[in-house]
């Protein structure tokens, strides 16, 4: 999609952002290649909607471009700041939608699922988790997505969510419990039962 040379790859996000602020468009391309896929994936997983995920990604990046000339005052990692902006934009949209949209029932699955191909099983697991995530409270959902999909550390998640690390650990723990209980009935159809009858 966008190629970056070795020199660009070795530069930090902050360094690239400062170059962009000075008018270097190649730095903007490098930042886009580095940051957009993660932000887009986060928004897509949180909102479950391609168009909205793209809107959030573009808006978050636009805010980054605008803040670039004054970045030195921020004292934060560029990616953490951007995830925070994107998370807040997603939460705003979720609140506008209302919680009722998020509570989609898991459809009935046929009894005694016959032999299914691995791809179908994986797709089914992915869909089931996506549905279960949709039912989580916003902050739990955000914490789970950042931790398990975006590989963010707990301190980073704490910064993104403006919470303590302990609060993040609690959010993750509660979210995992909810997901486990929600997904438990789906295990037989998700290819995870060992030694089933």
């Amino acid at each position: 999609m966008i190629e970056a040379d070795a020199h660009t790859r070795s530069r930090s996000d902050t360094d690239l952002l400062e170059s962009y602020a000075a008018g270097d468009q190649s730095a903007a391309r490098a930042l886009t290649a580095r940051l957009v896929p993660g932000i887009h994936a986060l928004a897509w997983r949180m909102l479950n909607d391609h168009a909205e995920a793209e809107d959030v990604t573009q808006e978050a990046m636009l805010r980054l471009w605008r803040i670039a000339p004054n970045w030195s005052d921020r004292g934060a990692q560029v990616s953490t700041w951007l995830y925070r902006v994107a998370t807040n934009l997603c939460i705003d949209r979720l609140r506008k939608r209302g919680r009722n949209v998020a509570t989609e029932e898991v459809p009935e699955l046929p009894d005694g699922v016959p032999e299914v191909v691995a791809k179908m099983e994986a797709d089914e697991r992915a869909r089931a988790l996506k549905d279960a995530l949709t039912d989580l409270p916003e902050r739990q959902r955000t914490a789970i997505i950042l931790r398990h999909f975006e590989d963010r550390t707990n301190p980073e998640i704490a910064e993104i969510l403006d919470a303590s690390v302990e609060a993040v650990e609690s959010l993750l723990s509660r979210a995992r419990r909810t997901l486990a209980s929600r997904l438990a009935p789906l295990r037989p159809v998700s290819g995870l039962v060992e030694g089933a009858d």
């Binding site: 962009y20 008018g23 468009q25 886009t32 573009q58 471009w65 605008r66 697991r125 398990h148 995992r176």
Partner: protein, 126 residues
């Protein structure tokens, strides 16, 4: 897998996460192009903004204020008045005021010819 229910639960969840991680959303090239277009637009917007701010600053520069108060003609006139006052003070301006108060004819004969020449020159230069 393990017999510990807690670990079993974690393993099960991890299988779901692994499946979901593989389900990566496709990134549309139009989104990337839109992001890059925004970046270029913001860069372009910053340059005129900088020029505008310079123009605004220049409106409040010393030169602007100086011009607003009349410029060089006013400055020359003020200097002249100051010098007249200074010389009049040195050469007994107090007597002039006092004589004017008592109805006597005031005289500025004491003003040096050089000063009068200077006044003529200044007025002529304007």
């Amino acid at each position: 897998m393990t017999d510990d229910p807690k670990n079993r639960e974690d393993d099960d969840l991890e299988a779901f996460f692994a499946a979901a991680r593989a389900d990566t959303p496709p990134l549309d090239i139009r989104l990337v192009n839109a992001v890059l277009a925004d970046a270029a637009e913001q860069t372009a917007l910053r340059i005129p903004r900088t020029d505008t701010s310079r123009t605004r600053e220049s409106r409040f520069s010393v030169r602007t204020v100086f011009a607003a108060f009349g410029g060089w003609p006013t400055a020359a006139a003020l200097t002249l008045c100051g010098m007249i006052g200074f010389i009049a003070g040195i050469s007994g301006g107090g007597d002039i005021a006092q004589s004017y108060y008592w109805g006597e004819t005031a005289s500025v004969d004491s003003a040096p010819d050089a000063l009068l020449d200077f006044i003529d020159t200044s007025l002529a230069e304007g």
